[in-house]
Symmetry: C2
Subunit: 266 residues, 2 copies
């Protein structure tokens, strides 16, 4: 089984890492559309066009199952991606909402995400469809803090304290009693421990990388070709191959040897 993982950048490598840990017998292709990132600032039509062309590329390289590890593309373009390619597609917004659905007793959920994801209200909509109320909080400093490498750092601890206090205050104002916190950005799994330390123990933290891997695992449980002869994982980027290798290795938790530069037009 060849699984394609798509993100606008290298954040989705946290999802690939969780998949490789969970389903080591599969083959993987990863595409980071680094030339056209960030998708978050772009219109729905543009994101849909970029995401569909990226998905088609992964299928042309042999992907038989596609994971959309990009929150913006999952939020804005999942239907367009499904229409563009003939293989099953799973997006991180739905897998995060699925996990919240299973976990939450109070039916009240908190979501931390980028400004673009929050503006799309993708998690609130996905949660509402599962009879969950959600409060979403834009946390725009967390991605640059992770990319700066300030993981165990007092500045990051203070930023998390401020964001979480604001989020809890929003929940109080809305009279919600949340028991679940969804990390709605592929960079945030690197801050999972710091976030778990900063929230009350009554709050279960849902790491979208881990729950996505678990749901792909279940979806492929009966697939006849699940364990193909596993080849090396292949990495593709549309620009900035050097940065992809350097920063990407931190996200993947192992070295990235080779990245192929591909041109998907613009």
């Amino acid at each position: 089984m060849k699984i394609g993982v798509f993100d606008s950048g290298f954040g989705g490598l946290t999802v690939l890492r969780a998949l490789m840990d969970r389903i080591p017998e599969a083959d993987y292709l990863y595409l980071g559309d680094t030339a056209r990132l960030p998708y978050g600032a772009k219109s729905r039509a543009t994101v849909a066009r970029y995401a569909a062309s990226s998905a088609k590329f992964l299928v042309s390289e042999g992907a038989e199952f596609l994971v959309i590890a990009c929150n913006t593309a999952s939020a804005l373009a999942l239907d367009e991606i499904r229409d563009a390619i003939p293989v099953p597609v799973l997006g991180v917004v739905e897998t995060g909402a699925n996990a919240a659905d299973v976990n939450s007793t109070t039916r009240d959920v908190l979501v931390m995400a980028t400004a673009a994801t929050v503006e799309s209200h993708a998690y609130a909509i996905a949660c509402a469809g599962r009879n969950l109320r959600a409060i979403e909080k834009a946390c725009p400093l967390l991605v640059p803090l992770v990319e700066e490498g300030w993981i165990d750092h007092p500045v990051t601890a203070e930023v998390l304290r401020i964001y979480l206090a604001e989020l809890m205050e929003q929940a109080r104002e809305a009279a919600l009693t949340p028991d679940t916190l969804v990390l709605g950005c592929t960079h945030y799994p690197l801050l999972r421990e710091q976030i778990e330390r900063a929230v009350p123990q009554t709050l279960q933290v849902i790491d979208s990388a881990a729950v996505t891997a678990a749901q792909v695992d279940r979806r492929l449980a009966g697939a006849h070709n699940r364990a193909a002869a596993a080849g090396p994982t292949r990495f593709f980027a549309t620009d900035s191959v050097a940065k992809f290798r350097t920063l990407g290795s931190r996200f993947l938790g192992r070295p990235i040897e080779a990245v192929d530069l591909v041109d998907l037009g613009s």
Copy 2:
């Protein structure tokens, strides 16, 4: 005189603001290539193509003088822009280096900029051409802190303290005695007071927006059509008009009423 100001986003509005304060009798056109930002992650060829098409657009709208308020485009594509259009072009890297040249007695200069600008070594190269030694420091958290609106904020003060301490340490290791600090990013003028409070009094802070406006003023001192009948400033963006208006007004220091969406292809 119609002056065109170009940036990949809205950071360049700090330069436009300085220009409008300094040369109120001119007309202004501003283009933020928001659909294709950030330029910093892209290759030189891509940046040159985007910047040249943006410059041509401003000239087609009547610009008679062009200010490149985008550090990445100034660093990577100034020659290509000059080749693409028939009007004079001034870029923020050269105006920052010019101001450092005039200010510095010790001939040692510090530069704070984004990761992409530092990787290009544009300031170090421009400084070397003026017989100045420069130490460049990437400060990737400052743009998101400014965009979060955390200007007078303890987290920003702490991040500045850390970045400036690292920069001073780099200067000590290189046995430099800097007397000038260049703010090499159009977002940083919003942090100018905070930065001035955090550095020794022996260090003169060069705000690239202010010095760019001063140098445009001098270049246009004798222009016969300097004071045309001033019309309203026109704003163009290639995407995200709403975000441009909201965030842009903070950078410009006055409300932005109308932004025209333009399609420059991709």
